[in-house]
């Protein structure tokens, strides 16, 4: 059952990215272009998502266990450190260069776009390299 939920959640997320047009890097770059020609749409995507997820999260976090798994499993890391700032800065620079972040990049593979395929492959190389580091340190 958890597998079915994973597939359905992915589909809803992918449709959401398409409806909101965040699948289009030009919309994202428009949001980051705040000092010139600004497209505030991305802020409305976040507001829409947070209006749903935030109250439900508060309601359900006191549940003992999720419906289709033995326990809740997510990082409760509260550490504010250099890694958080350095990592977010590197991500922000990559995001600003072409307007792609992991969700829209993977979803846009559906459109058989050679550019997004190229981006996703190099992003996975990035995941692989950072994993090598993690296991060593």
């Amino acid at each position: 059952m958890s597998r079915f939920v994973s597939l359905i959640s992915g589909i809803i997320f992918g449709v959401g990215l398409t409806v909101s047009q965040m699948i289009n890097p030009a919309k994202v770059l428009g949001f980051l272009n705040i000092f010139d020609e600004w497209d505030p749409s991305l802020a409305f995507v976040m507001i829409g998502a947070l209006i749903i997820s935030s109250p439900f999260f508060q309601i359900f976090k006191s549940n003992k266990k999720p419906f289709f798994a033995d326990s809740f499993s997510y990082s409760n890391n509260k550490e504010l450190n250099k890694k958080l700032i350095i990592g977010s800065s590197l991500f922000g620079a990559g995001w600003g260069l072409v307007g792609l972040c992991p969700g829209p990049a993977i979803a846009s593979l559906a459109l058989l776009n050679i550019g997004s395929l190229f981006f996703v492959i190099t992003m996975f190389i990035g995941f692989y390299i950072s994993n090598l580091f993690e296991t060593k340190s």
């Binding site: 010139d36 409305f44 749903i52 359900f60 289709f68 995001w95 600003g96 992003m123």
Partner: protein, 139 residues
């Protein structure tokens, strides 16, 4: 600053769907959606590999379903510079793993549970993203 191409209704509606996906995944499967985490765990870890794989497949099926039901084209405009795409892909892959999240993991899942760590991460990548675009405009 001029406001251009603003699509508040479709953006808000799509956002609601993204929020719904986050809640379903949390309440039913007990996990938080962060695409960079799901994708890198699919690559690097055996734990929940099939779940992660199916989520990513769903993410790709989503736009196809949208196209099928609305009978409309999905237009995207993406950089045609393979050098830029390579640098950006590596930065996004490394950066999201070093900071432990991306726009979805920190920006939505993290902020929705009021994580200070995620709020700081989101402000950081947005500010650096804005500066990057600003520099690109000048060059």
């Amino acid at each position: 600053m001029n406001i251009v191409n603003f699509t508040p209704v479709s953006s808000f509606t799509g956002g609601l769907m993204i929020g719904l996906a986050v809640i379903l995944f949390f309440v039913l499967n007990g996990r938080l959606i962060g695409i960079s985490g799901i994708a890198s765990n699919f690559l690097n870890s055996k734990k929940n590999r099939i779940d992660n794989f199916l989520f990513l497949i769903g993410l790709i099926i989503g736009p196809i379903i949208y196209k099928f039901f609305t009978q409309s084209e999905i237009n995207i405009s993406i950089s045609n510079s393979f050098i830029l795409l390579t640098i950006a892909g590596l930065l996004v892959g490394l950066g999201t793993r070093i900071s432990g999240g991306c726009t979805s993991g920190h920006g939505i899942s993290g902020i929705s549970r009021f994580s200070l760590r995620s709020i700081i991460a989101t402000l950081t990548f947005m500010i650096v993203g804005i500066i990057t675009v600003l520099i690109k405009n000048i060059l």
